[in-house]
Amino acid sequence: MPKRDDIHTILILGSGPIQIGQAAEFDYSGTQACKALRAAGYRVVLVNSNPATIMTDPDVADRTYVEPLDPAHVEAILAAERPDALLPTLGGQTALNLAKTLWETGVLERHGVELIGANYDAIHKGEDRRAFQEAMAHIGIDTPAGRMVSTLDEALAFAGEIGYPAIIRPSYTLGGSGGGVAHDEAEFRRIVRQGLHDSPVHTVLVEESVLGWKEYELEVMRDHNDTVVIICSIENLDPMGVHTGDSLTVAPAQTLSDKEYQTLRDHSIAIIREIGVDTGGSNIQFAVDPTTGRVIVIEMNPRVSRSSALASKATGYPIAKIAALLAVGYHLDELPNDITAETRAAFEPSIDYVVTKIPRFAFEKFPGARHDLGTQMRSVGEVMAIGRTFKESLQKALRSLELDVRSGLRDVSDADLEARWVPGPTRILALLEGLRRGVTPQALHERTAVDPWFLAQLAEIIEAERELSCLAAPTLWTPEVWREVKRLGFSDAHLADLTGSDEASIRAARIAAGGTPVFKTVDTCAAEFEAYTPYHYAAYEVEDEVAPSDKPKVVILGSGPNRIGQGVEFDYATVHAVWALKEAGFETIMINSNPETVSTDYDTADRLYFEPLTFEDVLNVVDREAPEGVIVQLGGQTPLKLAGRLEAAGVPIWGTPAAAIDRAEDRDGFLALCREVGVANPEGGVATSPEEARTLAQRIGYPVMVRPSYVLGGRAMQVVRSDAELAAYLDDVYAELEGTPTILVDAFLEGATELDVDALSDGETTVVAGVMEHVEGAGVHSGDSACIVPPVGLDAALLDEVRDAAIRLTDAIGVRGLINLQFVVKDGRVYVIEANPRASRTVPYLSKAIGHPLAKYAALISAGRTLRDLGFTATPTPPLYAVKEVVLPFHKFVGVAPILGPEMRSTGESMGLDADPWRAYEKAQRGAGQVLPHGGRVRLVGDGLDDVADAFAALAFDVSRGPLDPGDEVATDLLIDVTGGPDLRRALEAGVPYVSTRDAARWTVEAIRATRDAPLRVAALQDLGAA
């Protein structure tokens, strides 16, 4: 059947701010869906509160609403746009839950909107544990013995039957939030209580444990003609017990015979039919008992998921795009396979390489949180690597992680090492290290239940390390040895380490022996058909399939795995660079290792190399392609770190030169430069030893801000108030980081206002794109502070002074492209605290606020255009106030106080747009998941809140002061606690809105005042004249 012509306008829901369990993959899927549906002739309306996404670019949908993803706002948009259909399967759990609510409350019916892609019953059956189990029983597929309970007593009774360990899964939560594995009754009580609370319907499933079973996922597609295809199978190296988002996973499945694989395939087809997902993608998880082969189904997601994004990148099959087209009536056999052009989307990809995904964690940012992994997802990002063998792809994936901890675990004691074999963030490294120390694969299997095949592969890597150390010097290695070593996935840096050499010598010896990689193509069909899609990876094989074109080329380096401090914002910037440079006539070449992103979609850049962002791997591509330029300034710290070495190797770096980057990054150089141009700094200095740091701190006077140089997102940044605190801090930092990094010590300006400034320069002209005023004062990491543009709390003269200082600094550094500067204002004086000559986190937010695509401008400047050419010569005035608020993952880290500090911990952001700054703030809060009450009880804890108390009283709130009463109940509708006390955690766990700083408290009360009697209003970006 061709596409439906009875629907014209389709509403797509995004997934909101990036959070653990719901990340950039939904930007990828939503963007694909918008593009595909518009190309098919539909009018697309998009709602997403997350400004950092590509999908919310005004070019992507016909109508774009950066508004909170809640029923009220979506209903207002339905009324304004009158769509015929709602597609809820591409915006993760957030979109699916919202669609379910809109259906249940009759909103969709009232507005005559049809759910497409998944109907209500399918969503319910897929997501509701009891309904799912009944459906599985109906088709004779085993599920773990389990019982749905809504009280702790019921749960305890069932646990008595199945024994411990037992699994707890709350209904309708994200990334398994609130669930876990309980090994004893005490743990069981704690997790069940939390799960009952976290579940929006207050039920949890208590399940028999299948810990240690093999875990698989299948990605399934179905169309209206009932054609079902399996896109990809994924096997988890970490057996059952670890959330699949936190597991090291491999595609395709490695240890299943055809008989077993076909059983999973048959089950998957039966399940998608029984659940009744009409069209589109689903993800189905299975556990297989390694000793008997018994198969049970764990769960299914009736929507595109994180694994779908991985499966898309792993196979080249564009799941989200096809899912969107199936939803409007196309059949799989009517849609072409873009990669081969001749064949159809109705097929099952066959791959001839191995894909490894490794999650990236951020436990170091949550001291005190337990590091062991369970059924609740806690990773913040992931890398994927493609190799011809598992060993090669694993080693590529490991180096893509960019871990700066001592990743070899060489120095840990045997006991510490054993402790890391339990599921945890460094488990894979601990397994390798165990083998290195002579532990047998068999012993490791008994301890960890990791499949012997995977352990045997790891053992081969270690065996090869051993053989390498017995060989002659690398300069004497034969081409055969080089080929085998590189085929095993060893990087030059790793080989340098193993042979006591250095990376440059290894590289030279390798190239002299003819050891350069070839490039292969990801083609969905294992070379059976000609492939036209330029999606490539490096391999040490015989045949190179990739011929560089003779067009002028630009390489854009991506941002690698998402992590706190380097998220989807940088993907946004690099994708914009691709688009701008394509338009400018260049062949664009993307290198990135993050499977969740739009940048790694094969039709974003002209060519995609899915490769680690290391010096060696990037240089391989650059050597092959010989581009005119390489852009490093848009992908965040990851590519920026490579700039110097690449430039030294003769690579043409476009945009701000490496020397200028150093000038801004090097503390002394930067201070000198500030003096030169007459911009003040808070007093500070650089210490290379603990003694120096102490002397410096005493000279400046406590409190001081301390941090290691060259770290990301405020890693290990802290305010210290005494010699003792400083000493403790230094001990921690030196223990964790490679070598002994220099430590920056700065005066901490308590109570100052912080400002973020993004500016653009073409070398001749410098334009400040916007000054963003932070809501939270100095001491809160800029990435964790809410902010507003244009500023509301600064007078015009001071703003001019800031802009002027920004321009002088930008010019003095020698920026070509974007720069982000951070200022503090205290007592009418302006100080600069940081300058980062690269795209910043605020670029997408600011671009949307002012209606100018800053990352595109930056890319075009690096290609030689001027700001005058681009018509961007003065700071624009935003049409509305735009507030950015952040989302913090505290609920995932039990026992961590939900307070803000100099260490960045937010994972994502929302934006609120309104003509009134306070209402914009309220919307941003709502977008970030905090719904402020319009009345009722407010509890204030801490000093300096009298004005806030008065303001709440004036709004007829029932105001009380002092800590909450102990006990289970959090007896307030809003908590304001500026002491960092335990009440904050209680409020968080009870789902009560809370505020932890005085600044935010003042904004909160104003926001409530401005919104409580005002009608809700929504605005499309297209109406703001935004670009």
């Binding site: 055809d258 395939r265 059949h331 056999d333 159809r344 097929f347 070593v485 058909f529 045949e543």
Partner: protein, 383 residues
């Protein structure tokens, strides 16, 4: 085990291309036509499928041997592939179903293997250059020796026109009694996979497998309610006697052809077959049932195809087509309950989407009351 110093082996193609890799399987040399298979699982079923008789198989999936070898996954009594080419064979077999590892299986059945070559390059070579003959040789070779290997590959006899069925068919008939009231189906063995027998039994048939040269009279003497023409190796033009058998049996009982059986049916009624450039060998081919509009993902293994338009008198019409290249995948007689498919509904390895064909066939066999009340083959192809 030395990872960086493995025993050398080479694969020499008839066009002079030389791939250097490492030896596995039994030491020695082997020569044959090389075909690639894109199934990511099922290497054991592939090695033991008689349709690969005389061929060297290369797998496009790089890791082979991971889950070992199981007595339950044999598609015949022994491997028929003449050589095995993989990117990396697994030294560890990890699966509760495994009875031995791939290396010992290959040694036991004297199969020569080579690993460590760029199998993707080889596959692309086979895809663009058509069927190619080659030699696997264990040991290092110099240029002169390499030239000898190339010459051997060139000298190897082509499969085209040869009748390979005598080498693979059962020497004697055998029965799979059911001890129940089930319709008897005779299967002519041109190189049958065990799974075809199992699927027929599962669908409710008593199966008698007979040698390829069994005459129509001998078949009718077994009092069959249905006839199945099995898969098999080589050129369907080779076994001419089978064309006669099929022609004489046409319309007597419901008939179901699979792979070579499908091709023999086409030839028996006067159609022609042709050799595909590189054949279809994998487990992911989409086939559209043009009768119902449904799409099946199928398991495939063939180098020849039937040209349905050459069948005189429009006796057969196409029921299934390949969505990738439009080639004929299934056909049905317009008057008799006779139908056939080019692909492998018994799967093994591969998806089970087309298993329904066995069920449909047995339903028709059960309904069989004589030549006057027969449904057409087209009705049989419906799901």
């Amino acid at each position: 085990m030395a990872l960086l110093n493995k025993p050398p082996a080479v694969l020499a193609l008839e066009d002079g291309t030389l791939y250097r890799g490492y030896a596995f399987g039994v030491p020695g040399d082997t020569v044959g036509e090389i075909v690639f298979n894109t199934s990511m699982t099922g290497y054991q079923e592939i090695l033991t499928d008689p349709s690969y008789h005389g061929q060297i198989v290369t797998m496009t999936y790089p890791h082979i041997g991971n889950y070992g070898v199981s007595v339950y996954d044999m598609e015949s009594n022994r491997p028929f592939a003449r050589g095995f080419v993989v990117r990396e064979f697994s030294r560890t077999a990890s699966n509760h179903r495994a009875h031995q590892d791939l290396q010992s299986f290959m040694e036991q059945h004297a199969i020569v293997g080579i690993e460590g070559i760029d199998t993707r390059a080889l596959t692309r070579r086979l895809r663009t250059g058509g069927v190619v003959k080659g030699v696997i040789h264990h040991g290092a070779v110099d240029d002169a020796e390499a030239a000898e290997l190339v010459a051997r590959a060139q000298a190897h006899a082509d499969i085209d026109g040869r009748d390979m069925t005598p080498e693979v068919t059962t020497p004697l008939p055998y029965a799979r009694p059911t001890f129940r009231e089930t319709p008897r189906v005779v299967v002519i063995d041109f190189g049958i996979k065990h799974s075809i027998v199992y699927k027929l039994e599962q669908a409710g048939a008593e199966v008698i497998v007979v040698p390829a040269q069994t005459t129509p009279a001998q078949i009718m003497a077994l009092d069959p309610y249905g006839l199945v023409l099995s898969n098999g190796p080589g050129d369907p033009d080779g076994p001419r006697y089978a064309h006669d058998t099929v022609w004489q049996m046409l319309g007597l009982v419901p008939t179901y052809g699979i792979c070579m059986g499908h091709q023999l049916l086409g030839l028996a009624v006067g159609g022609t077959t042709y050799k595909l450039r590189h054949g279809h060998h994998g487990a992911n081919t989409p086939v559209k049932n043009v009768v119902t509009g449904e799409v099946e993902i199928t398991s495939q293994n063939h180098n020849y195809a039937v040209d349905v338009d050459t069948i005189p008198g429009n006796q057969f019409r196409a029921t299934h087509v390949n969505l990738n290249d439009g080639t004929l995948e299934g056909m049905a007689h317009v008057r008799y309950p006779v139908f056939s498919v080019q692909y492998h509904p018994e799967a093994s390895p591969g998806p089970h989407d087309a298993n329904y064909l066995f069920r449909r066939f047995i339903e028709e066999v059960n309904a069989f009351e004589g030549a006057t009340s027969l449904p057409t083959g087209t009705a049989l192809a419906e799901g």
